[in-house]
């Protein structure tokens, strides 16, 4: 899997709302910056050949790295595709919205739910928020959260930035009533 750079971010929240967070809330993000497989080809109707060439390898590259960086059992997860200015948002969606990509992460994390995602187009250094939800039950409200990311100098106009994110727990001071209490 060729990439221009790979960025791993681990963030741990030890205090929130003035109170200690125990255990600390850890989030890990791994992002790869790759060439847009459809760069310079005009409007490509059938994206499947490009997906087949890239999506599975990308999932296999990123998923184990998130698990390793997290260093503790994963409870929530999400993904991102940020397309450089010369591409289509559909190009990013193509790479992350396939089982070929996502199953690597689900398998590595023993997860079952669909991965929430952010897809957008932007210049290098654009900021984006990755949404995360519970890894086996997307209705578990305590685990709805998002993490802010910005990767320096990426994606270039002809590139796509693909990221996976995982969290060890729900929000640092989560204390909302469960969805079931309103039903």
């Amino acid at each position: 899997m060729n990439y221009r750079k790979l960025v791993t971010i681990v963030e741990e929240i030890a205090t929130e709302g003035g109170r200690v967070v125990d255990p600390v809330a850890r989030v890990a993000i791994v992002a790869a910056v790759i060439e847009n497989p459809w760069a310079g080809q005009g409007f490509v109707q059938d994206l499947n050949p490009g997906i087949d060439a890239v999506a599975s390898d990308l999932g296999a590259l990123l998923a184990p790295r998130v698990i390793e960086a997290l260093g503790a059992p994963l409870e929530a997860y999400g993904k991102a595709a940020i397309v450089g200015l010369d591409g289509e948002i559909e190009h990013g969606s193509a790479l992350i919205h396939t089982l070929k990509f996502g199953n690597h992460f689900r398998d590595a994390a023993n997860a079952t739910t669909l991965l929430p995602a952010v897809e957008k187009r932007g210049p290098a250094g654009v900021q984006f928020d990755i949404p995360l939800k519970h890894f086996t039950d997307a209705t578990i409200r305590s685990h709805h959260q998002s993490v802010e990311v910005k990767i320096a100098d990426a994606p270039h106009a002809g590139e796509i930035l693909i990221a996976l994110a995982g969290a060890t727990r729900g929000r640092p001071q989560e204390r909302l009533a469960a969805l079931s209490t309103e039903q």
Binding site: Y3, R4, K5, L6, V7, T8, I9, V10, E11, E12, I13, A14, T15, E16, G18, V20, D22, V24, G71, G125, Q127, V147, E148, V149, K150, A152, D153
Partner: protein, 222 residues
């Protein structure tokens, strides 16, 4: 609101302990709100991979509202060594040991209710710098950036060679995004390290430069 919890005084030995996973006591002593690490890996045709990392700790500003005549030394001596230890442990883990570190740097960004001097206090004394230098097995002065800022700033953290600061190949900066930090009453303290030079360094060095003075301005060819 973010004041550290009152703890009974205790002596601990941090010299041989890793704070990667075991740091709750240190975190509570300094009121740590969050700590993060970013690692950038860039494939290189000759060097394999160049790895560059930052580690960032966000803590409450211990000197809020104390005025410009406040002696900063007591809190500096209590807090700065803990920050150096927390951050150095993360850089060493990211790069794979002190022998992998070729360049280093540091930074501090104080929130808008604090004084620039508060940021400097936590990185510009031996209580931070000497410990970071020793952990990364360096000998150079550590280059830096500091300032006052708002949450969500992007810093460019400078680095240079850890034992030969004038080595031109290793002059580099690493861009760092600080989501949700520093709040007005906080300080973000950062350490950075690189396993190599710039990817394609080719602008010579002091050893290859001929002597250059303003004499060259007398014969400029346009």
């Amino acid at each position: 609101m973010n004041a550290p919890l009152a703890q009974p005084p205790q002596l601990i030995d941090l010299s041989s302990r890793s704070t990667l996973d075991d740091y709750q006591d240190v975190a509570q002593a300094i009121g740590l709100r969050k700590i993060s690490c970013t690692v950038e890996e860039v494939p290189h045709h000759e060097l394999g991979v160049i790895t560059r990392a930052t580690a960032t700790a966000v803590i409450p500003n211990p000197w809020l509202g104390t005025g410009t005549s406040q002696d900063l030394s007591e809190r500096t001596e209590a807090i700065a060594p803990l920050l150096a230890k927390l951050l150095a442990d993360r850089l060493l883990d990211a790069l794979g040991g002190a022998h992998k570190v070729e360049a280093f740097g540091k930074a501090a960004l104080v929130g808008s209710d604090g004084e620039l001097e508060h940021a400097g206090a936590l990185i510009h004394t031996p209580f931070f710098g000497n410990l970071l230098r020793e952990a990364l097995d360096g000998s150079s002065i550590i280059c830096f950036v500091d300032g006052r800022g708002v949450p969500g700033e992007t810093l460019r953290v400078p680095m240079w060679h850890k034992s030969a600061a004038a080595t031109r190949t290793h002059y580099q900066t690493l861009e760092l995004f600080l989501p949700d930090a520093p709040h007005a009453g906080e300080i973000a303290v950062i350490a950075a390290a690189s396993s190599g030079p710039r990817p394609h360094a080719r602008i010579g060095d002091r050893t290859t430069d001929r002597t250059i003075t303003s004499e060259i301005l007398k014969g400029i060819q346009l």
